[in-house]
Symmetry: C2
Subunit: 499 residues, 2 copies
């Protein structure tokens, strides 16, 4: 019965031939004979009996049985006791059919590519300036190793930690609000603090806990792509208000809250991602006044708390007495992505809602990670690490900014950020950023296209350059590649214009 099984037969014959070369004994000879019968037969065909094979090949019954066992092990034959031995049904290789899922799942609520370049591209690019994370050399590696090692030896951390987090770690995050400030205390305590596995998951919980699907949320534009994706996942409608290198205007926030009915305003007041912009104290005060007057929440994402260069961060929640500010902070970037630990601070009923959402979402954060994170940030070495880090970031920022001004022109650098990890560049409006980014990537230089940080269409041609990547010594080279790509594109456009 050739046809369906023809290919298989060929393979099996080759294997049988190969094994006959390798051990040309009588077991193999019988095996080869049986394989030929199987290949030629159909499922359910009866094979010769052991007795018949013993007499045909003049061997012992044991030899025949050994050969039979080899074929049985390969799934080619099966023995039904008292009846005989038969050719097995061929395993049919079926392709899976997932097409039913198309109807079952329906169309998507959000678009496809909600994951930013910063996360989706890996870090093996030769000159990587797309990442959102400082390179390993900027992390307190000795402290991390030491802390993880200690956590491994301690017993209580292995047990399930308390909901809300380790009390000492909660106290650390609460006390940080009052650090570097005058005598007046914010009154924020560990009771107001929930430990979270990174601020992204906290963002989602805060959005979900404080708003209903269909509600509006006001956001700066541009702003962190993860916040845009989180708001969409929570079913919220994003109301963007423009910001450049300054804070958004209070009047504009007021109007956005009024017309949309939004109760939430998500913002990064300090060294915002991607622009690096910093609210002044006066801007912060007038925006907070609007928030209070409109009975709204400011969700303060203090992502760059540890990345001040020319300015230090005083969280806005420090000024808040009545629970208008919900504060997010993470150690994933400044301590280590492996110590995926952060905190959310809130007060009043909002705190209770967020806590319930956190529990339902994650139950709790690994006790070992919490213990290790606490160990790092309470080590005396942490403070000195932060001082060194700030100096490294300053040198890196100034170096990269220098190359940008030299090769791309001073007008390209929107401003020199006082902290954070990124420069925000603006090209001529005609520049096709997607093509430019792809062209540079093909030459080994990665950067993040600006459009990803806009809830709607970007009002210009922007890219974000990270200056905390692994190869600061190649910044000049990287910027030259960008400049060359821009120039060749201009030349091309020029040729098109003059036929």
């Amino acid at each position: 019965m050739p046809g369906a099984g023809a290919d298989t037969t060929g393979v099996e014959e080759s294997i049988a031939l190969l094994s006959s070369f390798m051990s040309n004994d009588s077991t193999t000879e019988i095996e080869r004979h049986l394989r030929a019968l199987v290949a030629a037969g159909a499922a359910g065909d009866r094979l010769p009996s052991t007795r018949a094979l013993v007499s045909q090949f003049a061997v012992s019954p044991l030899t025949v049985q050994n050969a039979m066992q080899r074929l049985a092990a390969a799934g080619l034959i099966e023995t039904r006791p008292g009846t005989g031995t038969f050719v097995s049904a061929r395993p049919t290789i079926t392709r899976s059919d997932f097409s039913w899922q198309t109807t079952a799942l329906g169309s998507m609520r959000t678009g496809h590519s909600v994951v930013g370049t910063a996360m989706s591209l890996d870090s093996t690019v030769p000159i990587a300036m797309h990442s959102a994370y400082p390179s390993e050399g900027l992390l307190p590696q000795r402290l991390i190793r030491q802390a993880l090692g200690r956590a491994a030896r301690r017993s209580p951390d292995i047990d399930r930690p308390l909901l809300g987090g380790m009390p000492e770690l909660r106290a650390y995050f609460a006390n940080e609000i009052d650090a570097n400030t005058a005598a007046r205390a914010s009154g924020i305590s560990s009771d107001d603090t929930i430990v979270v596995p990174g601020s992204q998951s906290a963002l989602i919980s805060v959005f979900r806990a404080l708003a209903q699907p269909g509600d509006a949320i006001v956001m700066e534009s541009p702003t962190y792509w993860g916040a845009i994706a989180a708001a969409r996942q929570a079913g919220l409608v994003i109301v963007p208000i423009a910001r450049g290198s300054q804070a958004p205007r209070a009047a504009e926030l007021d109007e956005a809250l009024e017309t949309s009915g939004a109760r939430l305003f998500y913002a990064q007041p300090h060294f915002a991602n991607p622009t690096g912009a910093l609210w002044t104290a006066a801007e912060a005060a007038s925006l907070l006044d609007v928030i209070r007057a409109r009975k709204a929440f400011l969700i303060e994402d203090d992502w760059a708390h540890d990345f001040g260069i020319d300015a230090q961060v005083r969280p806005l929640i420090w000024h808040d007495t009545d629970g208008h500010v919900v504060y997010l902070r993470s150690l994933s970037k400044s301590v280590s992505p492996s110590l995926r630990v952060g905190a959310v601070i809130a007060r009043g009923p909002a705190l209770a809602r967020i806590q319930v959402d956190r529990t339902v979402t994650d139950l709790y954060v690994s006790g070992s990670l919490q213990a290790a994170a606490l160990d790092v940030v309470t080590d005396p070495g942490w403070r000195s690490h932060l001082v060194r880090l700030r100096e490294s970031l300053r040198v890196r920022r100034d170096t990269l900014a220098g190359y940008v001004v030299e090769h791309l022109g001073a007008e390209t650098l929107t401003h020199l950020p006082k902290g954070g990890l990124n420069l925000w560049l603006r090209f001529d409006d005609g520049v096709d950023v997607a093509r430019l980014v792809a062209e540079c990537l093909s030459k080994g230089v990665s950067m993040a296209p600006g459009a990803e940080w806009y809830p709607a269409e970007p009002p210009g041609s922007f890219v974000r350059l990270n200056f905390s990547g692994p190869h600061p010594e190649r910044f000049g080279e990287g910027v030259e590649v960008i400049a060359a790509a821009l120039a060749s594109r201009r030349a091309l456009d020029g040729r098109k214009g003059t036929p």
Copy 2:
């Protein structure tokens, strides 16, 4: 100026008096004098000059300054250079006003107490039988410590791991589907597997990715409280179908899917939480037939994969070729709550949707935790640990079941589960479980009230007893406390009945 500050003054006077007993020197004498002036004065009042005090107390200027410094440090006075020393403004203790949040937040979508007793009660109860987690003694502690220690020394784990998880850990979870099975492979690979920080967060992502708010989801009743809470958080409407100690009936699933239009069926086919029930192969096959015919998804929560006692788990996804089964597994219970790592396995477009939701929700799982988890489950000691664990669970289950039958009656034990961590008890319908649980807790015995596992009203009086807690030697004592509480309640009801 007495009145407002009267209380404070009293306290300060006492402190001053106390310190004067402890060191009755002239600095303290001046300090006491100044404190009295501050207490009697108002904010902004000028205090006597240093010169005046020097002459009044016949001491050196240094002594006066020391006393002044103590009051300044306490925030009671302030010196304006060239002008003098003044009473500070009293710190006004203002109560925060969070009442505006009531309007801003609106009413709750879900009820208040969505967090089960199993999570919200801590483990310091003398005889704790409420928990959802095995006690420390049942965990592979040496392996965990060793693995965390190794992870601390390895460098690449500190860096941000790949989205979706470490390839080796994904391969481990995929291969586990084919473990202990015949030659036929499920075809599931690491590409179908996403590493998650515990199965609770995976649950939420799966519900959110595969259904829209307002859609129906079919669930066994009773079922895991965390799944009920997660479905509500995703805005889904739960359609419960009854299960006792067996699987739900296929006809009932079919009807529920048809009438509700649900595309999702969430279930725990193996040693379900809380009942410990196990689907037979025949039941599983007919339920899967319904799922396929209705073009629906089975969300298989394999929470007790490592807790088989009389039976081993073969995941239902093993039988699935066309992506109808979405599989969840976690190591948080069997390895350690500190290694908060699990996996979700899915195929087709469903996998892509879940991956996007995971990324937006959490970005990634700590590389150190992933490395440590992989280290534990690939250590030769892990297999032998599982063998010992199974024997421990068998002894604990049989011991606790024996006491239940002896003191509470055989009819109370719904059935002897073939795996898992819990016994599921049913009392006479008249028993008020909430009162019984509270009464036992007051005597140091904790258990989880059955109502928490029902999406609607429970059809009887149930409790869940965990047999993997820290004090198996006190099982008898614990059950006796329950029996006594039941008896005293019956006696009370009897007295009420015969006036």
